[in-house]
Every structure is written in structure tokens, then in C-alpha cells.
């Protein structure tokens, strides 16, 4: 069939008061990867569910393989966000089930399974229960189940979330094979770097299409406006802050020792002089999809953080803010974190990087005093984790994964609660709450239940609740997962500002470009620290290993993990 395998026209989907999709027209072409890109809550999953026939649209038209959605299910492959696997069935039983319900003739079972097990490299694990597979393996099995009877349309709902970069790269290679066979693939993602790998991209934000076309068209629009500044004299966070405050700069991010800038449309190309960075160099650098997205959203926030301006100065002292000395956690036979060593001086950002399940959160929880280490010790703000856990906890602010707020309390009640939990006296509490409301622009939302806030506001509120007592140490667990890039910039503006005031930050992330904000990072893989250093050091190390010129943080990550695996295999072989 020529023409698209699926299309929507002016699609609208409303849930009560919320409009999840607002007039979206799109098409999936055969033999191509169509990217559905946008932050959490943009409407990606809703659109995919409508295409799969799982939801009825409130308006507009949907057509899949020339029929209304939900009719040609025989030729549709769908992988939901949670893969749709039965965890108490083995790999081969899951495949058999999907083959049977999709009506694959029995005679073809073996051939199809052999091909898919080979394709996904799961042949060795075919009798293992799906629940016992790693995240990356589950994802591959989910894909195999969707492919068990060769579909003509394949819908993948955020297949790259929470999976380590290596599995993610393998998955892209597999999808490349599929498009060669003429399958039309829809790949939804919140990672903007994945958009660049698609043949065509639909960029969704708050239910509206911001852009559609080849990704190059979006980056092309900002192509000559992205620059990298290196060699400036002041501290990089300070330089970023003051540069962002300039009118002609609409976005900026830290990249190791350099700073990446996006200039306004009619602004002249910057020079070291115009940026007040004498002795530095300014050079053009290739644009990214994210730059285009930021521009569409009207640019990033300015550089000065209102939060940091009001924050107290954290006094200097000669001891490290956070130390870990051989922290180890075992659950029975299973080692969740092994021999973690690091020291974080006052006023630095330290990042724990690694795929899901590698041991980041375990390490993090031991340092927060939420888990007792099996062996080793640690200290936060001078308080030993074993002896004075409560004091250690009182001196840190904690922002948990997915913003653990009380969803059924209002914004105001959440603020009140956390002020009480930190034992602020009434006057201080009132002042702190008033400040938070002003800084994070929460005034209009005070009576709204936190659970119903848009993601960006949830993140602001979570940060407000974590810093209300002005702690010297901040713990951030996946703080910007799924939020749009402008909200993410705002968040880092605050964090950068706080760090300039002397706050020490420990952050876990699997966003590789977020790692660039860190002063030092440690890469955690299979419960071990496999590399520690500044982002530039790790990139240089990986560049040598993989023979790359200008590796990204993600390249570094992959190269270091592959090196680790090679060494381990060699050791096991010996």
C-alpha cells in the first residue's frame, strides 16, 4: 500500500476539564521511523492509545491501515509503556501467548520465535520468567511480542525510558531493521536526542503540535545561532548566569568546562568581547533538536535565580559536605551497591549516573539515612550516618523521584506540612512559605490539589518543599525526569544559584546532558563505581577508548560500560 499506514486528522481528546490532544494531524509512513516527541503529559500516550483503538477520540478522524482504529488489530504491533509482559510466564510462554492471540499459524511459530530470539539476543534466556529479566531485556521481549506476527504498523510507547544507553542503542538498531522491511514505526519519547534519529518528527506540547517534519528542519532554523564558549575566566555557573541575563541570549547550558549558547533570531554572532569573556573563545557548534524546541517554546529562563538570591550563605568550612567510605548494601545474596567511595566538597554538584537498577538509588538512600549500610560509613554535613542519622537528615533537603508530594493535599497544605516537618517555628515558617509562593509563582495554585498540578508545577512545588528550611545539602533523585526543557532549565537555574551560595548537591540522573551540570560524576553499573571524574575527564577517557573525537556524555557512558564488560568477561574467562 502506498501512502501512510496510519493517520489522524484534527484529532481531539478531552478528559473532563483537561484537553489531552488539541487538533493533532499526523501520519505514519511505511518504512520510516516517525517520532512522537514531547515532555510527560504532552499527550503522546493518549495519541498512541487512540491509534491502537484503546480510546475513542472526542473529535477528529483516525485511520489505521485504511480502516477506523481498532479494526485491523491483526496487522498492528503495540508495545505499551510497561511492555505488557506477563511476569510469571517465561520468555517463550509470553511469545507463544502473543503468537496465539494474534493468530500466527502454528507451523510458523518456531521460525518466528527463533528469528525474534536471535534478533533480541534472548535465546539464552527463553525459559526465564519475564519478571526476572533486566529492564533492557524486558523491553526487547516486549518488542518481540509486538513483532511476533509481522505487523505493518508498530506503535512503541516510550520504549527508551529508564533503559540503559546500550540497550537503547540496540533497540534503535532493531527498529532500523524493521523499517527496512517496510514496517511503519511510531516511536514516542521524552528524550529530545532521540528525535534526531527519526525520519520525521511530531513535537507535542500540552496537546498541541509545535512542529512536524524532518528533525533537521527544526534544528536548521537555529543552525547558525548555537555557539560554544570556552576559556572564560570566571566560574562556569557564574558565567552562565550572567550570560543568560543578556537579552540576546535565549538559552544556555553548561557542557563540562564550556557553555553552550542559543542566540536570539536577529542577534549578531557573539564574540568573547561581546560576552565579556576576554581571553575565551567562541565557536559555532552543531544545533540539537532541543535547541529548536526551546526556541519554539519562546526561549529558556534568564540566569538569575530568585530562590538563590534569598537563600542564606552556607558558611565555608574545611570538611567535605558529603563523604562515602566503602558504602555497601547487600540484600541477602544480592549486592545492590558495593564499596562506594566519594567525597563532595562544599558548593559542588556531584552526579550519580547509571541505568535503572544499577545501584544509584540504593547509594542515595544510604546517604539520606533511609537505608542502613551493610558495611562502610558515610557522613552528611559532618554528621556520621551511623551515629547521628537524625542530625544528618535534618541538614539535608530531599527531592524524591517523581516528586513525592501529598497528591490529595492542596499546594498550601503541602507547604504547611513540610514547614512543620522541618520543625520551623511559626514566624520562620510563614516567611519561608510566603517566599516560596512568590519565587515559584504558586499564588494562583494555592488551593489546587498537588496531585492534579501540571508536571512542571509539581516539580517546582517539590523543590520548594525541599529547600524551605535552607539546608546546606540537597539530594535530588531524578529531579527533571519527563519535564519539558524550559522547566528543566528553570530548575537548573535555581540549583546553579544555590550552589553558588555554597549548597552542596547530590543528584541521580539518567539524562546524560544533565550530567554536564555536575562538577564531578560517578558512573554506577552493576552495583559498582566504574568511573569517577569531571564530565570532561570522563568524555576524554571514553574518547580514547572508543576513538571518538568529540564524544557526548552518552558516548562516554556507553564506552565506559563496554570497557567494564570486556574486562569482566576477560576476568571470567581467565
Amino acid at each position: 500500500m502506498d501512502g501512510p499506514v496510519a493517520r489522524t486528522t484534527d484529532l481531539v481528546k478531552r478528559f473532563d476539564a483537561l484537553t489531552a490532544l488539541d487538533g493533532v494531524s499526523m501520519a505514519i509512513e511505511p518504512g520510516k521511523v516517525t517520532g512522537l516527541v514531547g515532555p510527560d503529559g504532552a499527550g503522546k500516550t493518549t495519541l498512541i492509545r487512540i491509534l491502537a483503538g484503546l480510546m475513542a477520540p472526542s473529535g477528529g478522524e483516525v485511520e489505521v491501515l485504511g480502516a477506523p482504529a481498532g479494526q485491523k488489530l491483526d496487522d498492528l504491533g503495540y508495545m505499551p509503556q510497561r511492555f505488557g509482559l506477563y511476569e510469571d510466564l517465561s520468555v517463550i510462554e509470553n511469545l507463544t501467548l502473543y503468537a496465539e492471540v494474534r493468530g500466527l499459524p502454528r507451523a510458523e511459530h518456531k521460525e518466528s520465535f527463533d528469528r525474534l530470539l536471535d534478533f533480541t539476543d534472548l535465546a539464552r534466556f527463553q525459559d526465564r520468567l519475564a519478571g526476572k529479566l533486566s529492564g533492557g531485556m524486558k523491553q526487547k521481549l516486549g518488542l518481540a511480542c509486538a513483532l511476533v506476527k509481522a505487523p505493518r504498523v508498530l506503535l512503541l510507547d516510550e520504549p527508551g525510558v529508564g533503559v540503559d544507553p546500550i540497550s537503547r542503542r540496540e533497540l534503535w538498531a532493531m527498529v532500523g531493521d524493521l523499517t527496512d522491511q517496510g514496517i511503519g514505526v511510531l516511536w514516542s519519547t521524552a528524550y529530545l536526542d532521540e528525535a534526531e534519529k527519526c525520519d520525521a518528527v511530531y513535537l507535542l506540547n500540552e496537546g498541541k503540535l509545535l512542529f512536524d517534519g524532518p528533525p533537521g528542519d527544526l534544528t536548521g532554523k537555529v543552525g547558525d545561532r548555537v555557539f560554544r564558549v570556552t576559556g572564560f575566566k570566571d566560574r562556569r555557573r557564574h558565567f552562565l548566569t550572567r550570560t543568560l541575563d543578556r537579552d540576546e541570549v535565549i538559552d544556555g547550558t553548561i557542557q563540562g568546562r564550556s557553555v553552550r549558547l542559543l542566540m536570539a533570531e536577529d542577534a549578531p554572532a557573539p564574540t568573547p568581547e561581546s560576552l565579556d569573556a576576554a581571553g575565551g573563545t567562541v565557536e559555532p557548534t552543531p544545533p540539537r533538536f532541543e535547541d529548536g524546541f526551546i526556541e519554539r517554546l519562546g526561549g529558556g529562563p534568564k540566569g538569575t535565580s530568585a530562590l538563590a538570591e534569598r537563600y542564606r550563605d552556607i558558611p565555608e568550612n574545611d570538611q567535605c559536605a558529603i563523604t562515602a567510605e566503602g558504602l555497601t548494601k547487600r540484600f541477602g545474596d544480592f549486592v545492590a551497591a558495593s564499596d562506594m567511595h566519594f567525597e563532595i566538597p562544599r558548593g559542588q554538584i556531584f552526579g550519580l549516573l547509571g541505568p535503572n537498577g544499577a545501584g544509584k538509588s540504593t547509594t542515595f538512600k544510604m546517604l539520606c539515612g533511609l537505608l542502613t549500610p551493610t558495611s562502610g560509613s558515610g557522613a552528611v554535613a559532618g554528621h556520621d550516618l551511623r551515629r547521628s542519622r537524625a542530625d544528618a537528615r535534618a541538614s539535608l533537603g530531599y527531592m524524591a523521584q517523581k516528586f513525592s508530594l501529598y497528591g490529595d493535599l492542596s499546594v498550601r497544605q503541602n507547604l504547611d506540612f513540610f514547614a512543620g516537618a522541618y520543625d520551623l517555628d511559626r514566624k520562620t515558617a510563614e516567611r519561608a512559605i510566603a517566599a516560596m509562593i512568590e519565587i515559584f509563582e504558586l499564588k494562583g495554585k494555592l488551593d489546587v490539589n498537588a496531585g492534579t498540578l501540571p508536571l512542571g508545577f509539581k516539580q517546582r512545588l517539590a523543590l520548594a518543599c525541599a529547600v524551605m528550611h535552607e539546608p546546606p545539602v540537597l539530594f535530588l533523585d531524578e529531579p527533571t525526569s519527563g519535564v519539558d526543557p524550559v522547566t528543566r532549565r528553570e530548575f537548573w537555574t535555581h540549583i546553579n544559584g544555590l550552589v553558588e551560595k555554597g549548597v552542596t548537591v547530590l543528584v541521580t540522573t539518567h539524562f546524560m546532558d544533565e550530567a554536564e551540570y555536575c562538577d564531578r560524576v560517578t558512573l554506577i553499573y552493576r552495583a559498582e563505581q566504574i568511573a569517577t571524574g569531571t564530565p570532561d575527564e570522563l568524555k576524554a577517557q571514553a574518547g580514547k577508548l572508543a576513538g571518538l573525537d568529540d564524544p557526548t556524555m552518552e558516548d562516554a557512558f556507553i564506552a565506559l560500560i563496554e570497557e567494564f564488560d570486556r574486562k569482566r568477561e576477560a576476568k571470567e574467562a581467565a
Binding site: L54, A56, Q71, P80, Q81, R82, G84, Y98, V101
Partner: protein
């Protein structure tokens, strides 16, 4: 949309079967829990009347008063504690050591001499109504027997001995409670499997996101629902068979009907039980809520309102009215009949009819709420 496919159904049933076999909690609910229930009801819990502890306050020491006191002491129904004043007895009753106090007043002997014995006082502990009624009735009975033996209170007109009433209990001559508790626990077990387990498994598919993946395949909702019901229907029958076997071999419960009738009754009851479970899970889509509602709407009514523990005839009428919508109310008498009396179709058939009717009702509801949609 493709029509019903036996092949897809078979694949789904096999999947469900594999999940049941691998899930230790299913095994626990289907086989271990019934055993615990049976042994609990068979040995530990007994509704048979044994000797009730009463206090006897003897304020008179005349010969007739002593003879009456002796009548209480030798009664097989009472275990008597004696005292002269009521005060210590009252404390013991508050403490739960005594269930009733019987007071023989100080002018008792004098009254007997005059030919008009004064009333004795029976105080019972109303917090345990069944025992209280029992104590009051039997306490009065002992006194009446004594009065007859003393030659008092005989109806002056009647010459010969009064009509003597001799009670005879049919079907359960020794009135052993385990004879009706064993069939009762079968009802509990089938409710657990039919309603609770079924409620959990469909909700689990929603929670784990497998429902979403399944709905994007060509399966029909009929196939999906039948694939959930069939395995649990069989599981419940197996569990019932086990309970019956234990009841007969281990507890000596008589089984006077036929296995076929038992099978028909159990199958009829499983329709509303499974239907309710399915409806709950499809409506809630959440395992925790489903288990709470299944307990409230399935397990508790079966336990309390089916006539299993509490006799329906002695409930207040609004509660009695509610029992008519509890499917287990029709199961318990049917089971008791098939075990203790035999295949009394006149009683069993209408009950089967009502249970099937409830089943149809719940299935209609479930098909209404289980739509192939995430909206």
C-alpha cells in the same frame, strides 16, 4: 473485529492456568485455607451447647430451697457456683465468669409451706444473647421439673400426667454442629475462590498494564472473560471436592445425596460468585480496592447472612430481607440438604434457579463494565 476464536481462548486459558500454578497465594487460598477453615470449624469452634456456668444465690436454708438448689447442681446443663449473697456473683458475671445468676429468695421455704412458692429470680448476661436465652429457658425448666416433683403447680383439674413432650431431631440426631459447619465452609471456600481470587486476577491485569497490551491484540472481550472464569471455576470445584472428601473421611459427616447433585449445586453457586468477582475487578481495576470490596460484598455476607453461622429465622426482619439477595443463602440449605438429607430436588431446584438468576445478573453487569477501552 474478528469473531470468537477457540484457539485464542485456549491460549488465554493455558496462560491463566500457568499463572495459577505458579502463584503460591492461589494455592494457599484454594487448598491450605480451606483445610484451616475445616479443621477450625471441625475441632476448635463448636456451636454445641455444653455446661453453662451459673451462680446460685441461696438466701434461704429451708429444705425445699436446698432441694431446688440441688436440682440445679445435678442438672447436666449447668456448672453451679454457690453463694449466700448476690454481690460476689455480680462481679463474676461482669468479669464473664458466669453467664447467669439464679436467686432463691429468703422467703422461699415459707412460701412453699403455704403452697404458693415465690418466684425465683434469673439474671442473665444479655451481651451474649444466645447463651442468655439458653440459660433463662433451661433455668426455668429445672425449676418447673423440681416443682412437678414436689407436687406443686399441678393443674388442679388435670388428673393424669401432663402431656410429655419428647423432642427428636432428624438428620442430625446428635445435633453435632460440625455436620452443618462442613457444608458451610464449602460455601466460604467457594466464595473466596470465586469472588476474591477472580476479583484480584482481573484487577492485576489492569494494574500491570497487560490488559492494555491484550486489548491491542485481536482478542474479544468474551474470550478474555471466559478465559478468566474457566480456570477459577475448575479450581473452585477442586477445592470443593477436597473439602467434601475431608468432611466425609476426616470428620465423618454423612453424605446422603449424590455427587452429581453436589456438583450441580456448586456450579450454580459459582456463577454468581465468579460473576461478582469479575464485576468488582472490572469496575475497580485496582487489586487493593477489589479485595476490599470482594471481602465486603462476597465474603462477609456469605459468612454472616447465609445462615451458616447465624440462623436466618432468628434475625430481625430487615436483616432477614437482606439475606434474600445473598446468593450463599440459597447455597447453604442446598448443601446441608445434599449432605444430611439427600437429593431433595423440591428444595434444591428452586435454590439452583435463584443462584443461576443472580449469576446471570452479575455477568450482564460485568459485560457492561468490561469494555474494550481505556476511556
Amino acid at each position: 473485529m474478528s469473531g470468537f476464536s477457540p484457539r485464542r481462548l485456549a491460549a488465554l486459558v493455558r496462560k491463566e492456568g500457568a499463572q495459577i500454578l505458579r502463584d503460591p497465594s492461589t494455592f494457599l487460598i484454594a487448598f491450605v485455607l480451606p483445610m484451616i477453615l475445616l479443621f477450625l470449624f471441625g475441632y476448635a469452634v463448636s456451636l454445641d451447647t455444653s455446661r453453662t456456668r451459673i451462680g446460685l444465690v441461696l438466701q434461704d436454708s429451708s429444705a425445699p430451697a436446698l432441694r431446688l438448689a440441688q436440682a440445679y447442681q445435678t442438672s447436666p446443663y449447668f456448672e453451679v457456683t454457690m453463694a449466700r449473697t448476690i454481690q460476689p456473683m455480680r462481679e463474676k458475671m461482669v468479669g464473664g465468669d458466669l453467664r447467669a445468676i439464679i436467686v432463691i429468695p429468703s422467703d422461699f421455704g415459707a412460701g412453699v409451706k403455704r403452697g404458693r412458692p415465690p418466684a425465683i429470680q434469673i439474671i442473665t448476661d444479655g451481651s451474649q444473647p444466645n447463651t442468655a436465652n439458653f440459660a433463662a429457658a433451661y433455668g426455668e425448666g429445672v425449676r418447673a421439673q423440681w416443682a412437678a416433683a414436689e407436687g406443686l403447680e399441678r393443674n388442679p383439674g388435670a388428673a393424669g400426667p401432663p402431656v410429655s413432650l419428647s423432642a427428636r431431631f432428624w438428620y442430625n440426631p446428635e445435633l453435632k454442629s460440625r455436620y452443618f459447619l462442613v457444608p458451610g465452609s464449602i460455601a466460604i471456600v467457594m466464595t473466596m475462590i470465586g469472588t476474591l481470587l477472580t476479583a484480584l486476577v482481573v484487577a492485576r491485569e489492569w494494574e500491570r498494564g497487560t490488559m492494555e497490551a491484550m486489548m491491542a491484540t485481536p482478542i474479544t472481550m468474551v474470550e478474555f472473560i471466559v478465559s478468566k472464569l474457566l480456570p477459577y471455576y475448575l479450581l473452585a470445584l477442586c477445592s470443593m471436592a477436597m473439602c467434601t472428601a475431608i468432611g466425609i473421611w476426616a470428620f465423618g459427616v454423612p453424605f446422603r445425596g449424590s455427587l452429581l447433585t453436589l456438583f450441580a449445586i456448586a456450579s450454580a453457586f459459582l456463577m454468581p460468585a465468579l460473576g461478582l468477582g469479575l464485576f468488582i475487578s472490572s469496575a475497580t481495576k485496582n487489586q487493593f480496592v477489589a479485595s476490599q470490596i470482594a471481602t465486603l460484598a462476597g465474603f462477609l455476607p456469605t459468612f454472616l447472612l447465609s445462615g451458616f453461622i447465624f440462623e436466618i429465622a432468628s434475625m430481625p426482619w430487615p436483616i432477614q430481607a437482606i439475606t434474600y439477595i445473598v446468593p450463599a443463602r440459597y447455597l447453604i440449605p442446598s448443601l446441608q440438604t445434599v449432605f444430611l438429607a439427600g437429593d431433595q430436588w423440591g428444595l434444591i431446584l428452586p435454590n439452583i434457579g435463584v443462584m443461576l438468576g443472580f449469576g446471570l445478573f452479575f455477568f450482564t453487569l460485568s459485560f457492561r463494565v468490561t469494555r474494550r477501552s481505556l476511556d
